[in-house]
């Protein structure tokens, strides 16, 4: 009897068996601890002559730790009490000090997740010393100084000096021009709340479409744009109220040409909630694709409300896991979870909680309009 039918049958069985691991139901976020990481010197020794390749593999493997910290926001390592991100990035940067993304991710993770902007700035400065021609690092450092240290308002002379250093480090006209643009914007900055959008757009452009990083960046941008839209429209509503003594009945009523012209002398900002359609002022949807609403004189963005609810959802999943650990069994339904002491806050319109695979999820109705397109195509503003 020939062997090949047996080989084929066994191979097909083995392939089927392996494929079960990749089923959608079985996919769970991978999380990882970093307590085992060695010191930078020891890591170099252990890399056996391939520090850059080892650093990249270690970095890719640490994405799971990033996922863990998105939920946990506490990266203290067991034993020494050190910060996991700092130990990781100190090691990675020592192994390959010329890889720009290590500095960017280090700054992002320590700044945004740990809320240690001093450490984040330290990484960026270290990067500009190692790679003085790295425009992305200079830009990120400038954004950090502006956003988290408010240097434009508090230390304008120091900010100018920093921008001068950046300009000196750039070698081409186009690169220097970015710094001049920044200086110009610093001089006549008028749209508060969107300072980071340029940075996030750069990050989005360099990410792979559809990847978790791209989704995260898009979500962050929508969040910031929605906050900006709410702030801007609230200002127009307040202007309407001071002019007429009562709040507008509809949000569109707040778009009075006089108020809009006073607020935007050079025309509505491209990333803003107000646009001109067929020669008339018009409201855009929020960046998530929902209509902005006015309730008791307060402007709200349903998309932003959903985003906030989703942030709370991750916390609920953690609570669910803690309750399961404490009680020895998982809550399968919402009633069981409530009995276990978990409180479910009321959801904005169109949302319903559900427990799937030991995690809380929310079923949402789709937005009535398409979400804003954020990925830069010609470097322009989002399309309507």
């Amino acid at each position: 009897m020939p062997c090949w039918p047996i080989i084929l049958a066994l191979l097909a069985t083995a392939a089927w068996w392996n494929s079960q691991r990749f089923g959608e139901r079985a996919m769970v976020p991978r999380t990882k601890d970093l307590s085992f990481l060695p010191s930078p010197v020891m890591a170099r020794m252990l890399s056996m002559g391939h520090p850059a390749a080892a650093a990249k593999l270690r970095w890719i493997d640490s994405f799971a730790y990033f996922e863990l910290q998105l939920d946990r926001h506490d990266d203290t390592l067991a034993g020494t009490g050190e910060s996991g991100f700092r130990r990781l990035y100190d090691m990675l940067i020592d192994l390959d000090p010329h890889f720009e993304l290590f500095y960017q991710h280090a700054a992002f993770n320590t700044g945004a997740l740990e809320n240690r902007h001093d450490i984040a700035l330290g990484y960026l400065m270290r990067g500009t010393i190692e790679m003085p021609r790295s425009t992305a690092l200079w830009r990120q450092a400038a954004a950090e100084l502006h956003t988290n240290y408010q240097w434009e308002e508090r230390q304008p002379a120091s900010m100018e000096a920093f921008l001068d250093q950046w300009e000196a480090a750039e070698s081409t006209y186009n690169e220097k021009r970015q710094v001049w643009d920044w200086k110009t914007a610093m001089a006549r900055r008028q749209y508060r709340g969107l300072d980071q959008i340029g940075y996030w757009q750069d990050q989005l452009a360099s990410s792979t479409p559809g990847s978790p990083t791209a989704d995260y960046i898009e979500h962050t941008m929508r969040d910031q744009l929605a906050r900006f839209a709410v702030t801007e429209l609230q200002a127009l509503v307040d202007a309407y109220r001071s002019r007429h003594g009562i709040p507008p009945l509809l949000l569109a009523d707040a778009l009075e040409p006089e108020s809009v012209a006073a607020r935007y002398p050079a025309g509505p900002p491209p990333w803003g909630p107000v646009t001109i359609d067929a020669g008339r002022l018009a409201l855009r949807s929020d960046p998530f694709g929902f209509d902005l609403t006015l309730r008791d004189g307060t402007v709200t963005s349903p998309g932003l409300e959903r985003s906030r609810a989703e942030h709370r959802m991750y916390h609920l999943s953690s609570q669910l896991a803690e309750a399961a650990k404490r009680d020895g069994r998982w809550a399968e339904t919402l009633d069981e979870a409530r009995k276990a002491g978990i409180e479910f806050a009321e959801l904005p319109g169109g949302g319903a909680y559900r427990i799937v695979e030991h995690a809380v999820t929310i079923d949402w109705q789709p937005p009535p309009r398409p979400a804003w397109r954020l990925r830069p195509q010609n470097g322009g503003a989002p399309r309507k």
Binding site: G49, H50, A52, W59, I60, H98
Partner: protein, 251 residues
Amino acid sequence: MIAIIAGATFREAARSRAFLSLLGLYACAVMMSRLVGWISGTDGNLITANMVMSLQSIIGVLVAVATGTALVQTEIQQKTLYTVLSRPVRRWHFVVGKFLGLALALACGQSAMLALGLGYLALTGAPVNAWMVLAGALTTVEVLVMAAVSLCWTSLSSPLLATVLCLATYAIGHAVGSLPQLMYHLQGFQATICVWLACLVPNLSLYEYRDQAVHGLPISPEDTAMRLLYGVMWIALLVTVTVSVLRRKQL
């Protein structure tokens, strides 16, 4: 006579299954290296370039160890060594010829790997620069030093043990580069012993220029010449040790 032995060794090494299989493995690994770039969530070019340059060293050293350890032992086991030594051939002729043939085969293999690796990078859109060619050449020197190490260990022990010792030498040879930064852990005679032992191992970290080359960072001609000279010196030392051991060996 050395040239004849070298030519025969070159043909033998280039036709050996281990040599060709490892070259095939390198080609597969280079193709797969793009996957690492993809899962990084970046454009992956630099990461793939790092992988390709490292693979040249790793697979190159495996080729050197696999072929180098088998070279003399096969001759002894198959008794072909007696046929050679019964002719007017001195033992040092035999060892030097063997090493030169192996070195030539390895250099050809390394050139093929470098061409394939850089060609693959260029085809997939990763940036390729002239420094990477120089880094590949330095990796070739590293591989040749390892070939001399394998020849030396084979003359002193069995092929299996020699393979293990070669891989250990490779690991230690790279580790000694980081040793000065760890010396503060040691005190007194511990530090002295450690320094002496470290000085007896080739410092392979001198050939790690590949990581800088990927970023397009230059290396000075003096530095390159010094590294080449260092490699040649170690090769000369190890081949001389092999000759000395084989001279005294009762075959």
